[in-house]
Assembly symmetry: C2
DNA sequence: GACAAACACCGGCCGTCAATCGGTTTTTTG
DNA sequence: CAAAAAACCGATTGACGGCCGGTGTTTGTC
């Protein structure tokens, strides 16, 4: 099951939960909803959807839900990247990687050196096996 | 400008164009449209949309358009990865790239060597500036 | 135990966008 | 010039996220 597509508010809520840990709808509404002038009901719908999408877990505490992330920010990103990256093995994967390296280098020249040292690290880790 | 979201038919058309190079709407309809029992008009709308999204380039040959990919399959994938991975510059970018390299290495151990030689290439290209 | 507050839950409306097609205009060609 | 081919235009439909009002249910309080 690939990660579902997320709307703007859904993403904002996810980021908020990552930044703040376990929260309830009221807190989300206070910090995200009020500035956008949306009702708490809208926030409820959104966390409900995120829960259905298995991106938030929740637990009833007395009569209200407490929401927490189901995946860490890093796990989420890794899965998103893996979904979109597709096959990374073999010759086909090599071309994808080449294009990515090219992009990274163009985005920031220092990335070349960064990647180079990561490769060094990975190589030495491999030695140690 | 991040890559736009694509529908199912749009993706199929993109893949078709990657596989077949320069094509016209008629050929796409013959190979993709007819099996789906959709009219050629639907195919036209779709390539038109892909052109507006700058994923297909086109050229008028007599009165008909010839369509060709604006990005290679690999460039497309790399951009998709970059979009979802987030910022590629600065310190944040370093983490993102590290995660990708890690992913690539885990997918296929030989990727380490592949990336290493790409870095060599990129470095020598930089020298030449 | 009644009551008000807090909250979940349900259903509906709106906007956006892909998919789809019919109809019209423009271009090509026999 | 007439028929065919294709682009072009406009409309409809279906998903889905964002948004909210109304209704029920739980809870804490007097």
């Amino acid at each position: 099951m690939p990660l579902p597509l997320l709307g703007e508010l859904e993403l904002a809520v996810l980021r908020y939960v990552w930044a703040n840990g376990t929260v309830d709808a009221k807190a989300i509404h206070r910090d995200l909803g009020a500035p956008r002038e949306i009702t708490i009901n809208t926030v409820q719908s959104t966390v409900e959807r995120l829960h259905r999408k298995r991106l938030l877990i929740r637990e009833r505490v007395s009569h209200a839900y407490q929401y927490a992330p189901a995946l860490s920010r890093e796990e989420f990103r890794a899965r998103a990247v893996a979904d979109v990256a597709g096959e990374l093995r073999g010759a086909e994967g090599a071309r994808v990687i080449a294009a990515f390296v090219e992009l990274a280098a163009r985005a920031d020249g220092e990335n070349i050196d960064r990647i180079a040292s990561m490769i060094e690290l990975a190589r030495s880790r491999r030695e140690g096996r």
